[in-house]
């Protein structure tokens, strides 16, 4: 093997310009592979962070009582209880479950919430709003309120409310002003506007208000428990598995974000498929390039192959020489392409700093190791055909050439 390696290296270094061109060709293919990996991966992350980055990845909701029918022994329907629009169900034991959920691997934040509908009144103006009661200190656990604040602070305390820019504009509200919030249950309270945020999501900015959990308890007459628990994960893609784990651990109906997000998943899958195609084409180009170059080399070196065979080199040795050449070309091209790809990705902003108008490249998703490994394997595969052709060279004919 060592001697075959020596001969393979000698053959490659004997034709420096040809080898350099070949390695460069492979490197370009690997560069495209790395670049596409970083772009497709970055784009997927960008889309995910923009669509589901600020929502709960796993949600546990209190289940409303199912509609009930009271039937007499004679079979007559005596009474029907239907689901109401008002949420009445609660997760009464939330305080017990939260430490357990926080201990689940991959969970980065847990936010117990009381949610409901309400009306915000400022003078004669009234707006229908969605009210969310958050635990003080965990205001930014799910939606990054801190990051979206344009005025004031996200800190929620007794008698304070935080709402969106568009809602504030609609009601002509400013920081420190007092307003009335009435729940769908008819309970109302006076609150002071302590912060205004702008998420860029029209729905949230125009109709969501955030209050502290104690304030929400008063508004929705819920002295204990919560209506939902929102959970954020380190890895969005682990939502299904984590939800299953939480379900097993608590018995609660934990729902991953992927439920009902089929269209988004389809779009991401289609994007990933596109990436696979492009990367496959890059690999096919590499394989064809290496195979054709080595076939040419085999033809050019036929007399030498004949001499080697006459001197006692077996067919296997000849195969190893040419396959080793292929592997070396793949390794060098792979390393060079991956290195160039990394350098080309350096100027792009990091994942956290993506801005509209810039390519959402993610340098950490270049698949460098995979690119190098696949290139070496592809180059080895590509060299098998020329190597076998070399091994079949008839020494008598080759020497007489």
């Amino acid at each position: 093997m060592l001697y075959a390696l020596k001969i393979a290296i000698r053959y490659l270094t004997a034709s420096k310009a040809q080898t350099a061109l070949l390695v460069l060709g492979v490197a370009v293919g690997v560069f495209i592979f790395v670049f596409m990996s970083a772009l497709i991966g970055g784009l997927a992350d960008f889309i995910l962070s923009r669509t589901v980055g600020d929502i709960s990845h796993v949600t546990i909701k209190a289940e409303d009582a199912e509609p009930a029918i009271l039937i007499s022994p004679e079979g007559h329907v005596l009474a029907v209880t239907e689901k109401g629009r008002m949420r009445t169900a609660t997760l009464a034991e939330a305080a017990t479950w939260i430490p357990l959920i926080e201990a689940v691997r991959g969970v980065v934040a847990v936010s117990p919430q009381i949610t409901g509908a309400g009306f915000l009144t400022r003078g004669a103006q009234v707006a229908q709003v969605s009210v969310t009661g958050l635990e003080p200190g965990r205001e930014s656990a799910i939606l990054n309120l801190d990051g979206y604040m344009v005025e004031g602070a996200a800190r929620l305390g007794s008698g304070l409310v935080v709402l969106g820019q568009r809602l504030a504009d609609d009601l002509s509200l400013g920081l420190g002003q007092t307003l009335r919030l009435q729940s769908s249950g008819g309970v109302s309270t006076m609150l002071t506007l302590s912060g205004i945020f702008q998420t860029g999501n029209g729905m949230i900015d125009s109709s969501s208000v955030f209050v502290s959990l104690p304030t929400a308890r008063t508004l929705f007459a819920m002295p204990q428990g919560v209506t939902r628990i929102e959970i954020k994960l380190a890895d969005l893609n682990a939502a299904d598995a984590t939800a299953l784990r939480i379900r097993g651990l608590t018995g609660l109906d934990a729902v991953p974000w992927t439920d009902g997000a089929e269209q988004l998943k389809e779009a991401l899958n289609a994007q990933a498929q596109t990436g696979y195609f492009l990367k496959s084409f890059a690999l096919i180009t590499i394989v064809i390039g290496v195979a054709s170059a080595l076939l040419l080399s085999t033809y050019r070196r036929r007399p030498e192959i004949g001499i080697m065979r006459a001197m006692g080199a077996g067919r296997g040795f000849v195969v190893v020489v040419f396959v080793t050449q292929g592997a070396l070309i793949g390794l060098l091209g792979g390393l060079m392409g991956a290195g160039l790809g990394y350098l080309a990705l350096l100027p792009f902003p990091s994942r956290e700093a993506f801005r509209p108008g810039t390519l959402p490249m993610d340098i950490t998703q270049g698949s460098y190791g995979l690119a190098i490994t696949l290139t070496v394997l592809g180059a080895i595969l590509a060299s098998i055909l020329p190597a076998r052709a070399a091994a079949r060279v008839d020494p008598v004919t080759a020497i007489s050439q």
Binding site: Y3, E304, I307, R309, F317, I399
Partner: protein, 225 residues
């Protein structure tokens, strides 16, 4: 004492049907160990085909071929490759050295390819052979930088690397001037005398043939003298 090489009734036909050409027509020949034999004959008489068969690079269409008591007609490619490496050396008319390798690397090749690496012992043996060929100063020269006579001497050294019992030389001096040809023949004679290596030298040159102790003449596919 048994012969080193024995061929009996060798037939070699190229092509088939109407295009078939019979080059060897029942040729028989015996070579004893330590012989220095010239193989003479006109072009197309079958000299090169005989050398190719004796070198196990080609199998006869019919007939028997054995060396050192081994039946080489029945042996498979793997066995023939190893046999060739261990027992047979080649010297070609156009030296046929590996162009991207130095003189020493060329000489050490037959041993290195069998052992899987270039051992120190192989390099030492290669240096000794090159020194004996008068090429001590050219050991690390790329073969492209050597003269025709020097290349042929490197080829002789390579043929002797594995201490083969038989060296087959196909027109080894055909591409050299008279002085270089005589130098190569002198080396071959010296090795034959000192080490008992058997040489079979194909040549058109009567003067070269006269330097050999035995002459075999091939004509029309058989030994004629």
């Amino acid at each position: 004492m048994s012969a080193l090489v024995e061929v009996e009734g060798l037939v070699k036909t190229f092509g088939s049907g109407e295009a078939a050409t019979r080059v060897l027509r029942g040729l028989s020949l015996t070579l004893q160990g330590g012989e220095l034999t010239a193989l003479l004959g006109p072009s197309g008489s079958g000299k090169s085909t005989l050398l190719t068969i004796l070198g196990t690079l080609m199998k006869p269409t019919a007939g028997s071929h054995s060396m050192l008591g081994t039946d080489l007609v029945a042996a498979d490619d793997r066995a023939l490759t190893l046999f060739r490496n261990l027992h047979i050396g080649f010297v070609f008319q156009f030296h046929n050295l590996l162009p991207d390798f130095t003189a020493l690397e060329n000489v050490a090749f037959p041993t290195a390819v069998r052992e899987g690496r270039e051992t120190a012992a192989a390099r030492t043996r290669g240096r000794e052979l090159l020194a004996r060929m008068g090429l001590a100063e050219r050991i690390d020269f790329p073969t492209a930088n050597l003269s025709g006579g020097q290349k042929q001497r490197v080829a002789v050294a390579r043929a002797l690397m594995n201490r083969p019992e038989l060296v087959l030389a196909d027109e080894p001096t055909g591409n050299l001037d008279r002085a270089a040809a005589m130098q190569v023949m002198a080396l071959i004679s010296e090795i034959n005398r000192d080490e008992g290596t058997t040489f079979l030298i194909s040549t058109h040159d009567e003067k070269i043939a006269s330097l050999c102790r035995r002459q075999v003449v091939v004509g029309d596919g058989v030994v004629t003298g």
